[in-house]
């Protein structure tokens, strides 16, 4: 019995060691997002609280904590409260399989990439539940938009993942990174990287695909009726999801924790630093795109997902498979 308690304690320690840095970095990433947004528009962005405005997000979080949580009288209370919790939980549990270096991973499972894909496809529930339970027009419209959008773009993300898996021959995230030791997949699969990046924007409801919360049409979409800490949880979950998508992109295409070139000064840098740098690079692109691209129209969004990305990634899948087959480069699994 004592043995089990000891194991439990160790696991909780490891989970906390993962979760606390993620939550802190989510706060920092919100600050970075607003700073980049400001700099593109020749503003300063948040620069008052703390050095360079670094503590702005903490100040915002404090404000949200002390605000009142308002639950609309006609809302379905259980689902209304459950929705932000689900969003937040799903955004955090996915980090369990992300390898920061060869050893630094919470749980190294065989089907890591499928787990990531499954968790990110469950993320739609938080939004659809929140929108429905609010029992109000704008949140409901936002939730419907979001559900259709996320289901559509998941399809092309799934096919892109199959592209990468064909080159690796394993569903394990570590194997995917190690397979990129000689050549990052961003080079042979560059079109897929672009499609993945745009689909990730749509999957996380980022501009130019932020139709679920288009403020000109829907007030704030599914978040309209939320206030205080529950709104903050939606918000944190959203940014944790964005970070997760960046991590997924850097594992699938940018070689995870591997250095750019394996030469003397570069391979002295610890692996987690490389991983963090790649995540930050992708997030910087996310933030830039938010600042420079206008919002899509809804039918254009659907057309892009189903009529352009899906056929394109399918054709690229056939090309990749034929290339690997004819040049006899198909990965030989260890069995």
């Amino acid at each position: 019995m004592l043995e089990y308690i000891q194991i439990l304690g160790q696991e909780i320690y490891r989970i906390l060691f993962l979760l606390v840095p993620i939550l802190v970095s989510v706060a920092m990433i919100v600050w970075l997002d607003r700073r980049v947004w400001g700099l593109v528009q020749k503003r300063r962005g948040p620069n008052v609280v703390g050095p360079f405005g670094l503590f702005q997000t903490l100040a915002d979080a404090l404000k949200y904590i002390f605000k009142e949580i308002i639950i609309p009288a006609s809302a379905n209370k259980v689902v209304f409260i459950l929705a932000p919790i689900i969003t937040m939980t799903l955004a955090l549990v996915a980090w369990a399989v992300i390898p920061m270096s060869e050893e630094l991973v919470l749980s190294d499972i065989n089907v890591g990439i499928l787990y990531l894909f499954a968790v990110s496809s469950l993320g739609v529930y938080g939004i659809i539940m929140g929108g429905w339970a609010s029992n109000s027009k704008y949140p409901f419209l936002g939730a419907i938009r979001s559900a259709a959008q996320m289901v559509s773009y998941e399809v092309s993300i799934g096919i892109i993942i199959i592209n990468v898996l064909l080159c690796v021959g394993s569903l394990n995230l570590k194997d995917i990174v190690i397979a990129q030791n000689d050549l990052w997949f961003v080079i042979p699969l560059f079109p897929m990287f672009v499609v993945f990046f745009i689909s990730a924007l749509a999957e996380t409801n980022r501009p130019p695909f932020d139709l679920p919360e288009a403020e000109a049409e829907l007030v704030a979409g599914y978040q309209t009726e939320y206030s205080g800490m529950m709104y903050a949880m939606f918000w944190l979950g959203e940014y944790a999801n964005i970070l997760l998508m960046c991590a997924m992109g850097s594992i699938l295409f940018l070689g995870g924790w591997l250095p750019i070139i394996d030469i003397y000064p570069l391979n002295l840098v610890p692996s987690p630093i490389w991983m963090i740098l790649k995540i930050l690079f992708l997030f910087f692109l996310f933030a830039l795109i938010k600042a420079i691209v206008p919002r899509y129209r809804y039918d254009q969004l659907m057309k892009l997902g189903w009529k352009i990305f899906l056929p394109f990634s399918l054709i690229y899948l056939v090309l990749t498979a034929s290339f690997l087959f004819y040049f006899d480069k198909l990965p030989k699994g260890n069995f």
């Binding site: 689902v79 065989n110 499954a118 496809s121 469950l122 659809i128 289901v151």
Partner: protein, 208 residues
């Protein structure tokens, strides 16, 4: 092993409870939520017996796509409260067809489970070797060699149902102006603007 059985009973109790709640819950939305819970706990049971690929596929396909569409439809139709539940004692006309379908499914299950011991006579698998490889590899080895016909057949059935669904909802609308990106981009001032000298009190006829 104790931990293993504790988790097994935990997930199976949740699965049975939620599947009962799916059919007895008065609120349709709650039914769908319990269906999702049922899918998740069945997925966890799959992972517990070592079939992690199947468990994840259940999560992705059923929870991530099918149940989302269920929820979508139920929310759109706004059929929240089910007044005529069979356990309230009122007569409904759906109970007969429901009973027939339910009995057919039960019969099929009995045939499948009963025929399990004859499965070696029906289909033989040559390449399945139980070793230490992951079950994703083993599934791939068997599915694309021994069962390739069944695999293709499943694909054709899905394709047919997709074509059927599109055919049912497709209607050709006349007089709809479509946006063509190529036409829009290839326009330039010389082809889009036309200057005309308009005589006084005559006006000009604009075609289109």
């Amino acid at each position: 092993m104790i931990i293993h059985s504790i988790f097994f009973y935990f997930f199976s109790i949740i699965a049975i409870f939620s599947s009962l709640m799916v059919i007895t819950s008065r609120n349709t939305i709650n039914s769908v939520f319990f269906l999702i819970l049922d899918f998740i706990s069945v997925g966890c049971l799959f992972i517990m017996v070592g079939a992690e690929f199947l468990g994840m596929i259940i999560l992705i396909v059923y929870v991530g796509a099918v149940a989302v569409l269920f929820l979508f439809v139920v929310m759109m139709l706004n059929v929240a409260e089910q007044k005529n539940s069979w356990f309230t004692g009122k007569e409904t006309k759906h109970i007969h067809s429901g009973l027939i379908v339910g009995n057919l499914v039960l019969l099929e299950l009995l045939v499948v489970v009963g025929g399990w011991k004859y499965k070696d006579d029906l289909m033989s698998s040559s390449t399945l070797v139980l070793s230490n490889t992951s079950n994703t590899h083993q599934l791939g080895l068997v599915m694309y060699t021994d069962y390739i016909l069944y695999f293709q057949l499943a694909g054709i059935i899905l394709l047919l149902s997709m074509i059927g669904a599109i055919l049912l909802t497709f209607r050709e609308r006349v007089g709809v102006k479509r946006q063509s990106y190529i036409n829009q981009i290839s326009r330039n001032p010389s082809s889009a603007i036309e200057l005309k000298d308009v005589e006084s009190n005559k006006g000009v006829k604009i075609d289109d």
